[in-house]
């Protein structure tokens, strides 16, 4: 299955600093079409398409928009989440670098559908160099009259991974410490400034314009039953051709990793970044879909020269560093795991700690406040299952 370009349709084909080149490729046609429809019709089209959130959680986009649309209140917000912090993802950077206009268009359509007059794009601090390009795209769209009655503001993060989590992101936009909120209330009811809010990943918003133009049924024709459309993958690690690839959902992982990216001698693949799953090579024929593993589409390939404990240990160090520190399981649990995995890496592990790690992983998954803590141990649990020998070798005296 070759690449299929929906999200990346304009990447490389337009000048990201010139709206004219974007308009020459049906740019803002979808926004004009959407404004000729009722907001309910736009939402219905998105629901028909089966588009699910591309940030990792995979929540159905149409249902999210409908929730915010139907929530009482005059003031509503839409947010484009460009805090691409997941380890090993760089798709949103590539998208903004090459086609910022389609992001602006997607957010404007979301704003129209939800009934918001204000939109935000939350850009991670590390992407500061994209700020001028993004603001330029917004200004050009406004000057061309596409953003009448809808204001888009770019807010910059300050370098925290957890601020990519929707509730911490909203806290950050409000100017507070970036910490997760408890749910309910969900953002569609009480989000930014306690108003109904939708937060969509950059890639999700990039899918909106084509769906509006070509219809939800066209989009739903691609992919598998529960994963419609295409997905952009960031492939990195031990591969010959790292980069951004877009494929129809349901394509085999092997096609992407071995075919397109040219990986050889694979030991394991981390799918979905630091909080993602780690699968051994013998599962490489798994489909790339929400039914199996997907996350935000970060694919990190490790060959046989890589040590499992080092990868899991370094991932855990990252998560401990980036934990916001609010809830007990994540704040304390990641620290204990870092220290324990470090002991295993030095060959000073204790056999009983393997059982304790499993107990702790369950507790963190069950009781953490946000996705960071809940998914922090997925790679650890996977490797304990598939690469148990590596852990056993870390036990003191073995």
């Amino acid at each position: 299955m070759p690449q299929e370009k929906v999200v990346l349709r304009n990447c490389g084909a337009i000048d990201p600093a010139d709206i004219k080149t974007h308009r020459a490729r049906e740019g803002f046609k979808a926004l004009e079409k959407a404004r000729g429809m009722t907001p309910e019709e736009v939402i219905s089209e998105i629901k028909t398409s089966g588009l699910r959130g591309r940030g990792g959680a995979g929540f159905p986009c149409g249902i999210k928009w409908e929730g915010a649309r139907n929530s009482p209140g005059d003031e509503k917000y839409v947010i484009g989440n460009a805090d691409e912090g997941e380890v090993g993802t760089f798709k949103d950077r590539y998208i903004i670098q090459n086609d910022p206009f389609s992001l602006v268009e997607g957010l404007a359509i979301a704003g129209y559908a939800v009934g918001a007059r204000q939109g935000y794009i939350y850009l991670r601090w590390e992407y500061s160099y994209l700020l001028d390009l993004l603001r330029g795209a917004i200004d050009q769209a406004r000057a061309a009259g596409y953003l009448d009655g809808f204001r888009i503001e770019v807010r910059q993060g300050a370098g925290a991974y957890v601020c990519g989590e929707e509730s911490a992101l909203m806290e950050s936009v409000e100017g507070k410490r970036g910490e997760a909120r408890y749910r309910p209330p969900f953002p569609t009811v009480a989000g930014l400034f306690q108003k109904p809010t939708t937060i969509n990943n950059v890639e999700t918003l990039m899918n909106v314009a084509p769906i509006v133009l070509k219809g939800g049924a066209w989009y739903a024709g691609m992919g598998t039953e529960r994963s419609r459309g295409t997905k952009v993958f960031s492939v990195s690690g031990d591969v010959a051709r790292p980069g951004v690839y877009e494929m129809v959902l349901g394509s085999p992982l092997r096609e992407l990793v071995e075919g397109l990216a040219g990986a050889k001698d694979i030991k394991m693949i981390q799918i979905g970044g630091a909080t993602g799953r780690i699968i051994p090579y013998d599962q490489i024929d798994a489909p790339l879909a929400f039914e199996s593993y997907l996350g935000a589409g970060a694919i990190t390939v490790y060959n046989r020269s890589r040590g499992v404990l080092e990868i899991v240990g370094r991932t855990m160090e990252f998560l401990a560093e980036e934990s916001c520190g609010k809830c007990t399981p994540c704040r304390q649990g990641t620290e204990w795991l870092v220290e324990t995995l470090d002991r295993f890496r030095r060959g000073e592990g204790a056999a009983r700690d393997i059982g304790y790690m499993q107990v702790l992983a369950d507790t963190m998954a069950l009781s953490s406040l946000c996705g960071l803590g809940q998914a922090a141990c997925s790679g650890l649990v996977d490797t304990l299952k598939y690469f148990r020998d590596d852990y056993d070798r870390g036990i003191s005296g073995k």
Partner: protein, 226 residues
């Protein structure tokens, strides 16, 4: 807002809409342990000790901040819930100093009380400790941040009860700390006066009144199992 019916530990109960699971449970005589929760203040949801099992939910849910919904089926003390609470207490104790024997709060320490209630055994999860110098210059308050379990009661109380906002949070992850001003020790000439609100609410010995030698210890002697 009318009443709704739900099932609490297998018993059908009725509760007004908008109430949290914790409030409903307490009204029905079920004690769910809490740490960050303060009655009448907005929930924080940080300690996670009050988690309960709700049928159909992927994870456990914090009972102090989750409103009841019609037909909800709740288990407040299932084996799964109890095991999670035990681990959470162990995690709170993971970096807590082992100085109970000389701690003024020992006899009325909520962390110790909860650990005893939940029959937390030998600690499985020990991490490095925090070493912060004891702040004892202020005549009204002594702060020993090594003992803090980050329940944030002092932050909420100072802000919402006293309206002073002396405390806030800084740093992140394991380094997270309740700070005073821009993370400096509470000195002798600070705005902080002797309202004692945060000291009364602190579940551990992190905040306490300046103690004089020979002063009587507070609270009954705790019965420690095992």
């Amino acid at each position: 807002m009318g009443n709704i019916s739900l099932t609490l530990n297998g018993t059908p109960v009725s509760a007004p809409q908008g109430m949290t699971i914790l409030e409903v449970a307490r009204e029905n005589g079920i004690d769910i342990p809490t740490m960050c929760y303060l009655k009448d203040l907005a929930p924080v949801g940080a300690c996670r000790l009050c988690v309960v099992e709700v049928e159909g939910s992927r994870t456990l849910v914090g009972s102090c901040h989750t409103p009841v919904t019609p037909g909800m089926v709740i288990q407040t003390h299932s084996p799964k819930v109890l095991e999670v609470r035990r681990v959470l207490i162990e995690l709170m104790m993971a970096s807590h100093p082992d100085t109970c024997i000389v701690c003024e709060a020992a006899n009325c320490c909520e962390l110790r009380l909860r650990a005893t209630d939940l029959e937390v055994g030998m600690p499985r999860f020990r991490t490095r400790m925090h070493y912060f110098p004891v702040e004892d210059e202020n005549p009204s308050i002594i702060r020993d941040m090594s003992k803090c379990i980050l329940c944030r009661r002092c932050v909420a109380a100072c802000d919402n009860i006293e309206g002073k906002k002396m405390f806030s949070l800084a740093y992140r992850g394991f380094e997270t700390k309740v700070i005073y001003d821009l993370d400096k020790p509470i000195g002798s000439n600070e705005t902080c006066r002797d309202c004692k609100t945060c000291i009364t609410l602190c579940p551990t010995g992190a905040l306490r009144l300046p103690m004089k030698f020979g002063q009587e210890k507070k609270g009954p002697v705790l019965y420690v199992k095992g």
